[in-house]
């Protein structure tokens, strides 16, 4: 408990110090609970998520960093490896490939990389995965773009 708190505090200070160093990621710690974080990440360019801002929720276990944080999308996203309803993410480093040397920041970077490079072979969103696996890249992109517009962009007017 104490080690995880200390480590999270280190990360917190690092985030404060490096503010703006990575313009794509904005990590915020909950005011009252250092084990709850949220992040805003920008959809990577040249993907259907470009222009969108996606919110992630982190729930950090007491054994952190020996155990991985639990992360899910709060913003709806159409992506093969993200559960369409719950926002759960299927990413190896959040499960068995976790290493204590990862940080919340690097988890965010990994999620951005996952957005740009979906892994349709282990899908949580089957429809999305099937579009890619059947080679319908265009269909996939337009669906993903539509949901990005609907859910991850400021409403116009």
């Amino acid at each position: 408990m104490q080690t995880s708190r200390a480590r999270l505090f280190k990360e917190y200070k690092e985030v404060q110090r490096e503010k703006g160093a990575d313009p794509d990621i904005q990590l915020v710690c909950d005011d009252s609970n250092i084990f709850k974080w949220t992040a805003l990440i920008k959809g990577p360019s040249e993907t259907p998520f470009e222009g969108g801002v996606f919110q992630l929720a982190f729930a950090i276990p007491e054994q952190y960093p020996l155990q991985p944080p639990q992360v899910r999308f709060l913003t709806k996203i159409f992506h093969p490896n993200v559960h369409f309803k719950t926002g759960e993410i299927c990413l190896d480093i959040l499960k068995n490939a976790w290493s204590p040397a990862w940080t919340l920041q690097s988890v965010c970077r990994a999620i951005i990389a996952l957005m740009a490079h979906p892994e349709p072979d282990s899908p949580l969103n089957c429809d999305s995965g099937n579009l890619l696996r059947s080679g319908d890249v265009r269909g996939y992109q337009s669906m993903a773009r539509m949901y990005t517009r609907l859910a991850a962009m400021p409403k116009k007017g």
Binding site: C90, A101, S134
Partner: protein, 589 residues
């Protein structure tokens, strides 16, 4: 003509030569009831069946005790370390990676050392060089530490002792996956060997790690398995390519090498698996497992899926990747096979009927509970009877043999026949038990097979009952004798005779089941066509019919398959309609 050959085999064992069938050996047959003749017959059979059992029980396996295992493991490790000139811990990592096959390690290492080093995580030199810093930042807690509080493996990535200890401890708690632990740095694959564990882990964690290492030596090696008996810590090394899977562990548990259930010859592993599953299917526990989990298609451990995608990876050391829906290998799921995510393989398999089998079985189980109960009761009572016999055998060996030896003034070596009788009983109870599982799965529509099977089973069973009774009841009176009894020699003759006879019945039964009751096909042909081309078939039925009158204890199954023949109630021979007495046994129609 395979079946004919089998037939000869069977005949050899029973020491019945061809004369017997040509009717010249009437004395054999007719004097069956006399114990003396019986015994002669038995002596003969004994000689042959000894050869038979010797062939059968030729040891094709070695039982390993824990110290043997450690010794072998140690030899392999030091051997590899010596030949490759690498440290002991590197040798362990290498051997584990190649499933403890020394030759595979050598082959791989000498063909491409660099590739092996990379795959296993044995770095030749550090990835990060440290100038002479006095302080380091730990890659996990991000605190600065003095040099003496920092450790790293071959790669040189610095982590503090506390974080290392936590990292190692977490991975050991997680399971045998700790044997393939790598440096915590995500980009680094450097192996963390036992040296590091021994430096940093707590005492009980070290013990657990070394236990995993020992287990890995047995479990990852294809030639070795643990004895499945509860509490038994021996392992078995099995020579590949040998026939017969029965293994007898030093703990006295007999089991099947192939499926690690208890020994079940002559019934095949599939039948036994279904039967055991069926027996336990009644329990709540099993119902839950069936409803909520699936066995890993490779290692068969039940897996509960609580979240995530359908791409499953079994826990180490299995690590098999498969699809949760169809349980097929994940590598089969590609566009190549048309196996998109919705897993049409499942649908296709269902259409092909691969899933119907299981469902049909479930359905049948519900509808035929009575039938099942019939077989189960007999299976279970033979099971408990065997347990009792085992206890009796033990009692005999430890207590009664002494008493008997004194009471009858016989040296113990002369009383071996009693032990042999009990061993035979134990073995027969085991076989008999499994024949009930076999009987349960024998298809209803295969009438001839079923009849033949039940006949053989009935013969064997009644033989066994007589033996069991003789060994249990008749023996007791000799224990209480004040002075040596004159009847004791008769008893010896009788018990030894019964032992051999029973053994023969069971060898017969085992053989028949092992070749899938294939004798019956020719038998069916015979009773219908009576072309007598298939002499073997009548032999088979005659062989059993020679059952010293017990055949009559079974319900006569006088079959008149077609108008031109009738089968004899006593020996089942298919006689021409015109005959009024059986051509074989002179039994009246």
């Amino acid at each position: 003509m395979d079946s004919d050959d089998d037939m000869h085999d069977a005949n050899d064992v029973e020491s019945m030569d061809e004369d017997f069938y040509s009717g010249e050996a009437d004395d054999y047959y007719n004097s069956d009831n006399a114990d003396v003749d019986d015994y002669e017959f038995v002596e003969d059979a004994d000689a042959d069946s000894d050869v038979f059992t010797a062939r059968r029980h030729q040891q094709n396996y070695i039982i390993l005790k824990e110290e043997d295992i450690r010794q072998r493991q140690e030899n392999d490790i030091t051997g590899v370390a010596g030949v490759l000139s690498i440290p002991r811990d590197a040798a362990i990592t290498l051997l584990r990676h190649y499933n403890w096959s020394v030759s595979k390690v050598h082959d791989a290492w000498f063909s491409d050392e660099d590739r092996v080093r990379k795959a296993v995580g044995l770095l030749a030199k550090p990835v990060v060089e440290h100038p002479n810093l006095r302080e380091f930042t730990c890659g996990i807690c991000f605190e600065s530490h003095q040099r003496d509080k920092i450790m790293s493996v071959a790669c040189g990535h610095p982590f503090c002792i506390t974080c290392w200890a936590g990292y190692i401890s977490t991975s050991i708690i997680d399971g045998p996956g700790c044997l393939t632990l790598r440096c915590p740095d995500p980009s680094c694959g450097a192996a963390v060997g036992q040296d590091m564990i021994n430096l940093l882990a707590r005492k009980e964690e070290k013990a657990k790690y070394s236990q995993y290492l020992l287990r890995s030596y047995i479990e990852d090696n294809r030639k070795t398995k643990w004895c499945p008996a509860p509490g038994c810590e021996y392992a078995v090394e099995f020579a590949a390519g040998s026939e017969g899977y029965d293994v007898s562990c030093l703990c006295s548990f007999n089991f099947c090498w192939n499926c690690t259930e208890e020994a079940h010859r002559p019934v095949d592993c599939g039948t036994v698996g279904r039967w055991i599953m069926k027996n336990s299917a009644e329990s709540e526990n099993m119902n839950w497992i069936l409803a909520n989990s699936k066995p890993c298609p490779k290692c068969k451990r039940p897996i509960e899926k609580n979240q995530g995608c359908m791409h499953m990876t079994c826990t180490p050391p299995c690590k098999f990747e498969f699809c949760w829906l169809c349980l097929g290998a994940w590598t089969d799921h590609g566009e190549r096979t048309g196996g998109f995510y919705a897993c049409n393989r499942y649908e296709a398999a269902k259409q092909e009927g691969a899933y119907d089998e299981a469902e049909r079985r479930r359905e049948m189980a519900k509808n035929s509970l009575e039938r099942y109960t019939h077989y189960y009761e007999r299976w279970a009572s033979n099971q408990s009877s065997r347990q009792k016999a085992l206890a009796d055998l033990h009692q005999m060996q430890t207590v009664h043999l002494d008493i008997l030896s004194d009471a009858q003034c016989q040296p113990e070596s002369q009383l071996k026949f009693i032990i042999e009788a009990w061993q035979q009983i134990v073995e027969c109870r085991r076989v008999l038990k499994w024949t009930y599982a076999y009987g349960y799965y024998l298809a209803e529509y295969e009438h001839a097979k079923k009849q033949f099977f039940e006949y053989l089973q009935g013969e064997a069973e009644s033989g066994l009952e007589r033996l069991h009774q003789c060994a249990e009841k008749e023996l007791h009176q000799f224990l209480d004798d004040e002075s040596p009894s004159s009847n004791f020699n008769d008893f010896r003759t009788k018990l030894a005779g019964l032992t051999s006879v029973t053994r023969n019945y069971f060898e017969n039964l085992v053989r028949a089941l092992e070749n899938g009751l294939s004798d019956v096909e020719s038998h069916g042909g015979c009773s219908r066509a009576a072309s007598s081309k298939n002499g073997g078939s009548s032999k088979a039925s005659r062989g059993g019919g020679r059952g010293k009158g017990i055949a009559s204890t079974r319900a006569g199954c006088s079959r008149t398959d077609d108008a031109s023949h009738w089968s004899c109630d006593q020996c089942t021979y298919a006689n021409a309609r015109s005959a009024t007495t059986c051509k074989m046994c002179q039994h009246r129609r």
